[in-house]
């Protein structure tokens, strides 16, 4: 067995340590830069996604609004950082109407619903046959299952309506179930978010996009001729500017983010059936 064992000299060790330290520093710098770049890109993509979500939510809500109801425009209020409107949850066709009761066809050919109607939260619009307007009713109790006079399956809608209020509502009248929804900028400390508020309920605002800047939602309302609309009944188009922030800086060391950055998106939405 050979006993010749020669270790590294001090000089060799120092050179090796120096080279290792240099390599380690270079690698650490690359890793740090890559981590920050990845974090930055992830935040930017989340911010972009927020802006798209915000734009999509407002378009989905406002695009279908109309002004053909006897109860007024579907747009109910207008503000710089909030807007409220009726939003359809179901649509159907009346097959029977009597004081306190509307019966609609339950066949999927006629009944389309995002969800079941809820008393105290939803209202009903039914089209009159004698003139081109819609009558509005309050849904008084939970809907039930029943039959149309011809024996087909139907949904029973208890409504607050006497025979006078039901004038013109006949078998074949179109019917809409809707609820009032507010889209707004609100504070969820320490950030601002865009959220949806179901006005007929005590539910908390549901966030759907953010974080936003303090001027994160800027709504402008216009008439058909392009001039500024004064009241909701005049609104034919809505110009919206969203300003989103990247997530706030958090963490320490390499994981610490930069200061929040702004990005904006502008869009214009024409109501489906403007005044």
């Amino acid at each position: 067995m050979s006993l010749s064992r020669r270790g590294a000299s001090l000089l060799e060790l120092l050179v090796a340590l120096t080279i290792t330290a240099l390599l380690a520093e270079l690698t650490a710098r690359s890793l740090a830069a890559g981590t920050l770049q990845l974090r930055d890109r992830t935040e930017r993509m989340a911010q972009e996604q927020s802006l798209r979500l915000a734009s999509g939510a407002f378009r989905a809500t406002l695009e279908s609004l109309g002004h053909d109801s006897a109860a007024g425009a579907d747009l109910l209020s207008q503000a710089v950082s909030a807007v409220s409107s009726r939003v359809a949850r179901a649509a159907g066709v009346v097959c029977f109407a009597a004081p306190g009761l509307l019966v609609v066809r339950a066949d999927t050919l006629f009944w389309r619903a995002v969800r079941d109607p809820v008393a105290g939260r939803d209202s009903v619009l039914a089209a009159r046959a004698d003139r081109p307007v819609w009558s509005r009713f309050t849904l008084q109790a939970a809907p039930g299952v029943t039959s149309c006079p011809d024996g087909s399956a139907a949904i029973r809608l208890p409504v607050l309506a006497d025979s006078l209020a039901l004038a013109g509502i006949v078998p074949g009248s179109p019917l809409l179930i809707f609820e009032t929804v507010e889209l707004r900028l609100y504070s969820a400390a320490p950030d601002l978010w865009l959220g949806q508020h179901l006005l007929a309920t005590t539910q908390a605002i549901q966030p759907f996009a953010g974080p936003m800047s303090p001027a994160g939602l800027d709504l402008g309302y216009f008439r058909q001729d392009g001039s500024a609309a004064v009241g909701p009944a005049e609104v034919a188009g809505v110009q919206i500017r969203f300003v989103a922030l990247t997530e706030r800086a958090g963490g320490i060391g390499l994981s610490r983010g930069k200061a929040p950055r702004f990005d904006s998106l502008e869009t214009f939405i024409t109501l489906g059936n403007p005044p």
Binding site: E12, R44, M45, E48, A236, F268
Partner: protein
């Protein structure tokens, strides 16, 4: 029994190779960033086209009961996107052509053609 480990030089070479590998891996972030930026720009162009179509629809409805084509025009947006649009009558409808150009050299403009029914 002869037990021989790695020499200092071999260990250093291995370290060098690993470092180069890590650096190369991080270099792939560049194209990823470019792709994400391109997606953002295309999203902006889509928003511009969609908004212009809605504005032209509103202008058309505002002229009712006449079926008058909306006015043509050009606009440069804050983020550098340039759009131009025109409209003409076509058999009971209005044909609109909207184009938007990204602020990127060599990138062809995105064009949207649509028919709006007369009010």
């Amino acid at each position: 029994m002869v037990t021989r480990g790695f020499t200092l030089l071999e260990v250093l070479l291995a370290l060098l190779v690993v470092s180069l590998g890590v650096t190369g891996l991080l270099a792939t972030l560049g194209p990823l960033t470019a792709l994400a930026a391109d997606g953002r720009a295309r999203g902006r162009v889509a928003a511009v086209l969609e908004s212009r179509l809605d504005r032209m629809r509103l202008e058309l409805q505002g002229a009712a009961p006449a079926c008058r084509p909306p006015t043509s025009g050009t606009q440069r947006h804050g983020d550098g996107v340039v759009e131009w649009w025109s409209a003409g009558s076509r058999a009971g409808a209005i044909e609109v052509v909207i184009a938007a150009q990204l602020p990127v050299r060599g990138h062809p403009p995105d064009t949207l053609r649509s028919l709006l029914p007369c009010p």
